[in-house]
């Protein structure tokens, strides 16, 4: 008969304890997730109203005079931020997507290059760098640059777009490269056998095959760009009115969240919760879409 080792019960107990600690750790990780999303959802929904989406900044007017206890009559809305985010992030995507995709095409279609290794290294560096760095660079080079008329170019929505574009180019490049690599070489060879030049077959055969994967990369980049605040802090300054002028300071949702968190008026703090909810919903939706698209592709 094989009898268990004398310390087996102790070892088994230790094993159970440690394994349940890993479960506890995972639950502990989900606790902040639930708390954050829960708080943002509950308090943010309270801030959502027609005014929230259609009005812009209102200066805090304390109703009933200063002695009434500080009730702000009309906190206004965040339309300036919504328009600003759409414009700035949209422009950033327009700048970054072609650059990222074309660079990824080079990496995927001409592999084994020494340039390719350096590019991959650079995308790693860029994606790991603090986002404030990009803000500092754009601030120094663009916002503080003296223009032709002797005045500095100043804060602008365009500067913010450039900063965001620099941040998301590595994301688009890496995901596009991986998606292009997944296209089997037989597809390319079949097109070549029919006489297609490389540039034609890349754009009409390879890219469309990888398109859903590339789209997920673009969605992830969009989610990242929409939530970034630090580079915007140094480049767009913020604007209390709805503005469509990219060459002037603009507002953006993450900046508004930051600004309204630090004010002493509870009515404006409510606006912060509302914008945070908007941003979180946006980011979560993108991530869910990406997950759905990825699992659909994997299931095919």
């Amino acid at each position: 008969m094989i009898s268990p080792a004398p310390n087996y019960r102790r070892r088994r107990m230790f094993d159970r304890v440690m394994r349940s600690m890993t479960v506890a750790a995972t639950i502990a990780a989900l606790v902040p997730l639930v708390l954050i999303i829960g708080y943002v959802l509950v308090r943010g929904l309270g801030a959502w109203s027609v005014d929230f989406f259609t009005q812009s900044y209102q200066p805090p007017v304390v109703s009933g005079g200063l002695s009434s206890g500080g009730e702000v009559a009309n906190a206004g809305g965040v339309l300036n931020g919504i328009i600003g985010t759409i414009l700035i992030v949209g422009t950033a995507m327009l700048i970054a997507t072609p650059i990222g995709i074309l660079a990824a095409i080079f990496l995927a279609e001409y592999p084994g290059n020494s340039v390719a290794t350096v590019v991959r290294f650079c995308t790693d560096v860029l994606s790991g760098a603090p986002s404030i760095i990009v803000g500092v660079v754009v601030y120094y080079e663009i916002v503080r640059r003296i223009g032709a008329d002797g005045k500095p170019l100043g804060f602008s929505g365009l500067a913010g777009s450039i900063a965001l574009a620099i941040l998301i180019i590595p994301i688009i490049t890496r995901t596009t490269e991986e998606m292009l690599k997944l296209v089997p070489n037989t597809t390319r060879e079949a097109a070549m056998a029919l006489g297609a030049p490389k540039w034609w077959l890349t754009f009409t055969v390879v890219l469309p095959t990888a398109l859903s994967g590339i789209a997920t990369g673009v969605l992830l980049a969009f989610a990242r760009a929409a939530g970034e605040t630090a580079p915007l802090l140094l480049t767009i300054l913020g604007n209390n009115q709805v503005s469509f002028n990219m060459l002037e300071p603009m507002a953006a949702l993450p900046l508004l969240t930051y600004k309204y968190t630090d004010t002493p008026f509870p009515a404006q703090n409510e606006l912060a919760w509302g914008t945070a909810l908007l941003l979180t919903v946006l980011v979560l939706t993108m991530n869910l879409l990406v997950r759905w698209a990825t699992s659909k592709r994997a299931g095919r």
Binding site: A5, T22, A25, A29, V136, I169, R224, T257
Partner: protein, 324 residues
């Protein structure tokens, strides 16, 4: 005689370059070089921007105490201390926790729950940092102040200066460390999970064959095999904590005058210092010093991320473009 016409150049295997191919190669190469140049531009611009400060101070200002640019004092030690302390707290909290989560997700989790739980853990990384900061200000800081900071400072804090009060608004280096821990947890957890997943099964089977319990198997054969990757994951997490700006800015309390004595008092981190003062810099020297701080930060995260990538080199990470 070789047949003329279209099949004529079967003799000699000459590669057919078709029109447009050369331009295609050039154009895509150009965009690839553009990506490389972005890193170069960042380095060059920050080098130029910090020229004044480098000429004036060299790097000595990094260990000089007292940041008061209005009076000409440019000691960045409070910022460096704050960055290191908050990141250390974050790593101490999130490191072991992240490894445990990674172990659970890759070794012990039931298959049908695996991808959903992984997704939820990674969702923590997707939340914008300004939302973390706001939630921290309105929820975590009051909670921490009441249930952790005040109890500790009024009991053992009286003996140990590092843990002493007073606790005012609650914004402090300690809370900032906790928020950073939550933010870097998904990074460490998902890298640990991925690195453990590629440990070959013969390691596990060998341990189980000699009668080890599952935890012993993990602890003695799987984890050591993957330890380089796990360390790499922690270094990536540390890099993220060092560079995190918005959440730190909103929570750390913005105290720049000197290095705070206690972990429960307000302080400042390097990234938060740069973000809060650069747009309103008093003069060129102030601006240049801030850019120099940013350059130092860039250099440190550059080295850290480079070393981490080397350690995590062969991990299968899939289309992980948005994850650090």
């Amino acid at each position: 005689m070789a047949p003329a016409g279209r099949l004529g150049n079967l003799q000699g295997l000459r590669r057919r370059i078709q029109h447009g191919d050369g331009i295609f190669w050039l154009v895509t190469l150009g965009f690839a070089l553009l990506v490389i140049s972005l890193v170069g531009i960042i380095g060059i611009v920050m080098w130029n921007g910090s020229a004044d400060a480098r000429a004036q101070f060299g790097l000595s200002f990094l260990w000089t105490d007292g940041w008061d640019p209005v009076n000409g004092e440019y000691g960045a030690l409070p910022a460096i201390y704050g960055t290191l302390l908050t990141s250390a707290i974050a790593l101490l909290l999130a490191g072991p926790l992240g490894v445990f989560i990674g172990v659970f997700l890759s070794e012990l989790c039931p298959m049908r729950l695996r991808s959903s739980l992984s997704f939820l853990v990674e969702l923590l990384a997707a939340i914008p940092s300004v939302v973390y900061g706001m939630w921290g200000v309105f929820v975590l800081v009051p909670f921490f102040r009441t249930y952790i900071a005040r109890p500790i400072t009024s009991t053992i804090g009286k003996e140990i200066p590092f843990l002493s009060g007073p606790v005012g608004s609650g914004r402090s280096l300690a809370v900032a460390g906790v928020i950073l821990a939550i933010m870097i947890l998904p990074t460490i957890a998902s890298i640990t999970r991925d690195v453990l997943a590629v440990v070959p099964n013969h390691q596990r089977e060998a341990m189980l064959a000699v009668g080890a319990t599952r935890w012993e198997m993990i602890r003695r054969s799987v984890l050591p095999y993957a330890q380089a990757g796990i360390i790499g994951g922690m270094m990536l997490g540390l890099g993220r904590a060092l560079g995190e700006t918005m959440a730190a800015l909103m929570i750390v309390g913005s105290y720049k005058d000197s290095v705070p004595q206690s972990v429960f008092s307000p302080g400042i981190t390097a990234a938060a210092l740069v973000a809060s003062e650069l747009p309103n810099a008093n003069d060129f020297l102030h601006e240049s010093t801030l850019i120099l701080i940013a350059l130092v930060l860039f250099g440190i995260t550059f080295l850290l991320n480079g070393a981490a990538r080397l350690l995590v080199w062969r991990t299968a990470r899939g289309p992980a473009g948005a994850r650090a």
